[in-house]
Amino acid sequence: MKRIYAIESWCIDCKRCEVACRTAHSKSKDPVKAYKVEHVPGARIHVEGDQHVSIAVNCRQCPKPACVDACISGAMQRDPETGIITSDPERCVGCRTCVSECPFGCIHVESVALKCDLCGDGHGEPGEPACVAACPNRALIYVESEGCHHGE
């Protein structure tokens, strides 16, 4: 499957990916409305570090996801077809078990678990996630993953 890869050497800590993520997960898909009217909860991708060293952290879409195994309410699911892991906000109880299980620190809870759903809503290539399309320096790339094949 295609995954998002973050490349530390090109990340410049601008956090445009975070803005793009919140916008992509708004109803209006408009950044101004997303921030000022809808108050969309936090981004599902986070840039860690500072101006000198930084990297975007988001879900690796693991083939054997610990978060799915750990989920107590069945909200966290891996789509067997696409391999994309999503959390159903209707079923999530916000217990944070997934947060403690994720080895990469990719899940955040703001009343419910928020994680990357490989949105494919970007304005770039067809199917490109919004954060990848918004990255000005190709520090986020959306490519077929090596070594981790579909269904693994």
Binding site: C14, R16, V19, P31, V32, Y35, A134, N137, A139
Partner: protein, 501 residues
Amino acid sequence: MLDYVLPRYRVLRDKDECIQCGVCERSCSNGVHHVDTDLGRVTADHSKCVNCQRCVVMCPTQAIAISKWPQVGNGTNNWTLENMQDIAKQAQTGAVLLASMGNPKPYPIYWDHLLLNASQVTNPSIDPLREPMETRVFLGSRPNVLKVNEREHTISPKIPPQIKLDVPVMFGAMSFGAISLNAQKSLAMAAEELGTYFNTGEGGLHKDLERYGKNCIVQVASGRFGVDPHYLNAGAAIEIKIGQGAKPGIGGHLPGTKVNEEVSRTRMIPEGTDAISPAPHHDIYSIEDLRQLIFSIKEATRYTKPVAVKIAAVHNVAAIASGIARAGADIIVVDGFRGGTGAAPKRTRDNVGIPIELALAAVDARLHDEGIRSMVSVVASGSIRSSADIVRAIALGADAVYIGSAALIALGCHQCQDCGSGKCNWGIATQKPDLTRRLNPEIGAQRVVNLIRGWNREIQEMIGGMGINAIDSLRGNRLMLRGVGLNEKELEILGVKYAGE
């Protein structure tokens, strides 16, 4: 002491659009923007803004625009706000005013007074989409007469070394030190893909770029930084830099703060020391001395590589070019006064030198008159802004052109003219790792390749319109140009007729 210098720009922020995401704050190395949580809005320190427009481009909601500082002058043409601000700066610091990029003063831009010809009825124009169109150029010395032995399939005399350009554009000298390694690497990768050349400038060739040697012109300037036999042989050609259009008559000064470990190793100078290029080459005080250096370099490279000599366009440029041709140079580079620089004294940048259009026309005419034009190739540089400028330059007699500023603009440069500060927000004219990282050479090279591909297509369209199918047939073909808004003397020097003639 209270600083009397006024801000130059004012940051306009649309409060309705601003989402306080902080992208602008993190994008600005000058510390202009600040997300103030107490005030609940983003503030700006206008005095620090240099108008590089990084924040404008990066802002996800297009909430930012930069405007001029609204302060008006006192209304005189003489004591303009700029003149008074320059005095205020020098009264504050007692220093020489430094500036970057090309001469911004409103001197005539002759390119904009030269119009191109096109075929109508009597000779057919050529459609480059349907017919072959040659934009390849060879640079180097050519023999006056070529004898062909048809029986043995040989030619004599032996053709001197030449370099082949698939497009009539090269990337001008910009040193590692003045620009970042990522910027130079972008140009190197683009040159390789386009089949043309980038120029190391006077800062040596970084070891990571040696693999682009066949697309590289290595420069030998008065500081001789990074020059050794390995360096001379690493490139496809060698360029001796005598002068630079932006600052004729003076050398260079790379401040020690920019000389980090990598720059130090490449330039072969101690880390943190100022890299000072003397105004003259201390071994060149005559054409004969120049000839010695040219042939020393030819010896060092076993006569396998052409040697170029780059001079700034100054008053006697044609006579100097003639001397350079006779000194044995294979290529003469003439750099006009609008050419860019990483840093130059402002008064030199703004007042010294002559326009490239006049210099180029004078050099080409002089070399023709003396019957030595084929001994050298002529490269024009100093603010080539578009493909139309290239067509005009070639029609005025250039074999090819160098672009510097235009290539940097493709990389993201917005001509803010603050290169000297070392805080380039686009990762170009800086050595700070957090800033150089902003220029991913993969993207940079792609943008430059796109630009030159577009320009080359436009060149083909324009010369095809003239009924010409090879750039060689345009060279020095001044009948393809007509002047508008020029006086008789200007037309005479340019060697073109007035529109309607």
